[in-house]
């Protein structure tokens, strides 16, 4: 069949990309969902769009621009909320809009070339390069090492920051490092799911996992599994149906979440009925 080698390569690239995206999203997502930082992460994501625009304008790799923007905005929000100079949710709201506005203005000002905005907003497997996949692979390794080596310290700080602060001098250092790693994870996944959809790639899998387990390390593992199922199924569906991949992935994940919720409700209903009969 004509183009079969191209197709084979395309599928392998998609699957490897999906695997790395799932590992990073599962690790970072469990952290942000547990710590109720979903809105903060949404703010970081959208602020990074400013970096994409400026990247185009000054002629550097837009992902590098987005990375710088997202880390700076993440640290800025953490810093402001620690100092309590401004309400955190307001700070996020302002940064969110400012990032998008900056991005649009600079892309508009960039002479000649108009980048494919849609691919940044909603993600596209067609524009994912080997460079992107290698970057995600490195990020997967870094996150796995970081969360394994410092598992307990990160867990204790996330669970009860005030208590941890009493006994550990490292609380702020860990908060800043973890938030920066999450900002980077978000940026690298923007190529997969897009600015608008990436936050659900981080948020939905841990919520699926937490239906079945409330143990942090297991939530991470199940999140990665759920994310990989959702992303690879999403790729397949988008490929065969010819619909945008980012949106398809998110749809697939939401459907898995709904099925899991229903399954959980049915299981607990059956258990209750059994108990009633036994009693």
């Amino acid at each position: 069949m004509e183009g079969s080698i191209f197709q084979y390569e395309f599928i392998i690239k998609g699957l490897i990309g999906a695997l790395f995206a799932s590992i990073t999203a599962g690790l970072a997502g469990t952290y942000i969902v547990s710590k109720k930082m979903v809105f903060l992460s949404g703010g970081i994501t959208h602020a990074s769009f400013g970096g994409i625009g400026i990247g185009y304008f000054i002629g550097i790799n837009p992902v590098v621009g987005a990375a710088i923007f997202s880390i700076l905005s993440a640290l800025g929000i953490e810093y402001l909320s620690v100092r309590q100079k401004i309400r955190e949710d307001s700070a996020i709201g302002i940064l969110w809009a400012l990032g998008m506005a900056t991005g649009i203005i600079f892309i508009y000002l960039t002479p000649g070339y108009t980048p494919n905005l849609i691919s940044y907003l909603f993600g596209s497997i067609l524009t994912v390069t080997y460079g992107d996949i290698i970057a995600l692979g490195i990020m997967s390794v870094v996150l796995m090492l970081y969360f394994t080596v410092f598992y307990r310290t990160i867990l204790y700080i996330s669970f009860d920051e005030q208590f941890a602060r009493t006994y550990s001098p490292y609380v702020n250092a860990f908060k800043y490092i973890t938030t920066s790693l999450i900002a980077l994870t978000i940026v690298l996944n923007i190529r997969m799911a897009g600015v608008v959809l990436v936050i659900s790639l981080l948020t939905i899998p841990p919520n699926i996992a937490m239906i079945f387990t409330k143990v942090y390390s297991r939530v991470v593992v199940w999140s990665i599994a759920a994310a990989f199922t959702g992303t690879s199924a999403g790729y397949a569906i988008s490929y065969f149906a010819g619909i945008p991949v980012g949106a398809t992935i998110i749809f697939t994940l939401v459907i898995i979440w709904i099925i899991a919720k229903i399954a959980d409700a049915v299981i607990s209903m059956v258990k209750r009925t059994e108990n009633k009969i036994l009693n």
């Binding site: 080596v149 310290t153 009493t166 006994y167 143990v215």
Partner: protein
């Protein structure tokens, strides 16, 4: 003669222009059981935070008995609101986190640490809940878990912030009995606005209303409280616990 664990010397703390604590003096001895009472906003929690090093006084100092007490030998039971009970952690995780101060940056827990945590969990009657997540626990069970976290590191001074806020009345007597046993091994400083309940268990009072007045006995009268500028609504003392209401 009992050794002094901690000496607080004319400590003053302010938040902005607000003075929360002024020239507070307090000596804590081994095996002390001090009830810290006073009105809301009077500086009770600030006193604990100073001892924990979370708040820096602008005046005065703290002297720890270097042979016995350091910050890592202070156990702390915060008010329940500081941790998120929907966070995906197990009872074992939370109890182990009480060993954090003895670990470095990596906090790896050995099987010895797990055994130790298992013993603490057993003493608190929570063995069946070891691998349960916090969201499955009742108020009283949560209180026991946080008490376990506070004592697993074998502290010499235990700080309790409003333990009466936990609603489980079934466990209340058990809880104070537990504290009585712990008091054989460590000094206890307990913040409470509910002196009616605590006066049966403590050995002395500290009245905190910006100033600190130490009262070296567990019996304290309304007149004493008024003299200390410590308006409290009810107090129990004597053989049969009873309640005296403040004059209207």
């Amino acid at each position: 003669m009992q050794a002094t664990l901690l000496e607080i010397l004319s400590v003053s703390v302010s938040y902005g222009n607000n003075i929360a604590l002024q020239d507070a003096d307090l000596k804590v001895y081994e095996n002390d059981f001090i009830g810290v009472i006073g009105p809301n906003g009077g500086g009770k929690t600030t006193l604990l935070k100073v001892i924990l090093g979370l708040v820096k006084p602008f005046k005065g100092r703290l002297i720890f008995n270097p042979g016995i007490l350091g910050r890592s030998r202070i156990g702390y039971l915060p008010q329940i609101s500081t941790g998120d009970n929907n966070f995906p952690v197990t009872v074992m995780d939370v109890i182990l986190s009480g060993l954090m101060m003895h670990k470095g940056v990596v906090s790896i827990m050995s099987s010895h640490d797990r055994k130790r945590a298992g013993r603490v969990i057993g003493e608190l009657g929570l063995t069946e809940l070891t691998e349960s997540s916090l969201s499955e626990l009742s108020g009283g069970q949560l209180q026991r878990v946080f008490l376990g976290r506070a004592v697993i590191g074998d502290p010499k001074l235990l700080l309790l912030d409003e333990p009466g806020n936990f609603v489980d009345t079934n466990f209340e007597n058990d809880f104070y009995e537990k504290l009585r046993l712990l008091n054989k091994r460590m000094a206890i400083l307990m913040v409470s606005h509910d002196i009616g309940t605590i006066s049966a268990h403590i050995k002395s009072f500290a009245c905190v209303n910006r100033h600190l007045h130490y009262h070296p006995s567990s019996e304290i009268s309304n007149e004493d409280l008024l003299a200390y500028g410590c308006p409290i609504q009810l107090i129990t003392h004597g053989e049969v616990p009873h309640t005296v209401l403040k004059k209207h």
